[in-house]
Amino acid sequence: MTTQPVSLSRDLAEKQVMRAELSDVDMAVWRSASGVVSAWENRCPHRGMRLSHGFVRGESLACAYHGWHYNCEGACHYIPAHPELEPPKTIKANLYNVTEASGIIWVNAVGTVSPVTLPSNTQAVRSVSVHCSLEIAAQAFKDYCSLSPITANTRTEVVSESPYVLALKAPLPANSPTPSMQDKSNPVSVFIALQRVNQTTTVAHITASEHASETDCIALSRWANKVRTHAEVSVGSTE
């Protein structure tokens, strides 16, 4: 399995935990009080509770069911039912490789995590969930650029070996009120990292160049909604 995005860094604050699914692997992704991000199998070794329902205390994730505490290495270090007990070293959450790069949290559930290299000076736009396969979503994002009236300065580039990441240059329709997008000397780039949730759901995590204005980001966010509709309609018509 390849490295895939699971969230925009911005959307996982300190002391938060979220659920993420990657090619049918159910995960808990959480950030400690000091900012360390972890991605684990979404199952507490005690009685199988989804860890994404847990809560963060300092540098530990605590399970919602019986409050077992796990540190950033996944080791259980506190069992509230037995406060004096030092938990055996064998009690461990199942860890996946995770890293943050270019404002995105990347995970590989089976191997080393190697995110696609993107510029580091980007800003988060939004994540959008699309009800279609990753292939259809990727095609929709590509199509919608070249179909737009500003094909002249639109360039779609697949920047990785895998189909997971697309980099687009100025993909906005011309009628969007975004002057900075029209500036050919310093074009806004848009990066779309795709997460395969399962066969029928894909999440697109969208970032843009740092110099994109707020208006640009709003326009991009609307554009993403249109792409979603486009993708979901194309699924509907082939069924």
Partner: protein, 290 residues
């Protein structure tokens, strides 16, 4: 037919509360993956021998009996006797059938959760438990050979509001019984009558291996709360449990050791799993019957 289903078919399951259906009314339900129709019969006069209720599975009538304010059904051809709860015959208790809650989990997971106290401070925070009172002290578990039931005794736990009738925190004592694979009964200190114990039972109707309808029932000493208040209290507690039960993975209960990691606090659950395995009660279990 598989052995797990064949085994489960000989047990009794709740299907409706007494009086739930008006005469002539019917409802559809499911037991062990089999569609059933429940019909409250119109019996014109007292001498009429028509039973008050008829339950049919695939057209054929099945065994029906009434107990603990519920109608119970058995779809098998060799029904085991229904377990007993002696306190159901004590006239000074309040009997409170609490209705039904559907849960997307194995019926065995629902029972096991009911036997668990270590979750009180985290799942029923401020009601049945609260940090820092999280310790589970040593208690006793055994299988009562004559009744063939799992029994856990000498359980003590600090509770902020042990019952609707409790004023402030008390040290509560618990006893648990598992009289059938899909039923559990607990006895706990009665806040209004410390020499007696309240009874709360969980009767589980297996819709299939990963879905169940849970029918809580209580036999209490409480002459201050209304029936609606008592039901609301129990429902609140159970809805908190449901948020856990629907998020346990896998959905079916692993009964062989190795999949999950128990501690001393889980002795009741460990005994329950062993007891299920020994009697061949594999319906809702992760493993196939060996």
């Amino acid at each position: 037919m598989n052995a797990a289903l064949e085994h489960a078919l000989q047990d009794w399951y709740p299907i409706a509360m007494l009086g739930e259906l008006a005469p002539g009314e019917r409802k559809q339900s499911r037991v062990l993956g089999i569609d059933v129709t429940v019909l409250a019969n119109d019996s014109a006069d007292e001498t009429d021998s028509t039973p008050p209720i008829t339950v049919r599975a695939e057209g054929a009538p099945v065994h029906v009996q009434q107990a603990f304010d519920h109608w119970w059904v058995c779809l098998g051809n060799a029904p085991k006797p229904l377990f007993s709860i002696e306190e159901a015959g004590e006239a000074d208790r309040r009997f409170v059938p609490c209705g039904v809650v559907r849960v997307a989990c194995s019926p065995l997971r629902a029972v096991e959760n009911f036997l668990d106290i270590a979750h009180f401070p985290f799942v029923h925070t401020g009601v049945l438990g609260a940090e820092p009172h999280t310790e589970v002290y040593k208690y006793d578990v055994k299988v009562d050979e004559t009744r063939d039931e799992v029994i856990a005794t000498n359980i003590k736990f600090y509770q902020p509001q042990a019952a609707k009738s409790a004023e402030g925190g008390i040290q509560t004592e618990y006893i648990y019984r598992v009289p059938a694979p899909m039923a559990a009964v607990l006895y706990k200190t009665c806040p209004l009558k410390p020499e007696a114990m309240d009874v709360i039972a969980l009767f589980v109707q297996p819709l299939d291996e990963q879905t169940c309808d849970v029918w809580p029932w209580m036999a209490l000493y409480d002459d201050t709360s209304t029936q609606a208040e008592l039901i609301q209290f129990q429902q609140l507690i159970f809805l908190q449990d449901r948020s856990i039960l629907e998020n346990q993975l896998p959905k079916k209960l692993p009964i062989d050791p190795g999949h999950e990691i128990p501690t001393k606090a889980d002795y009741t659950s460990v005994a329950y799993r062993r007891w299920l395995k020994k009697r061949g009660a594999y319906y809702g279990a992760l493993e196939a019957q060996p």
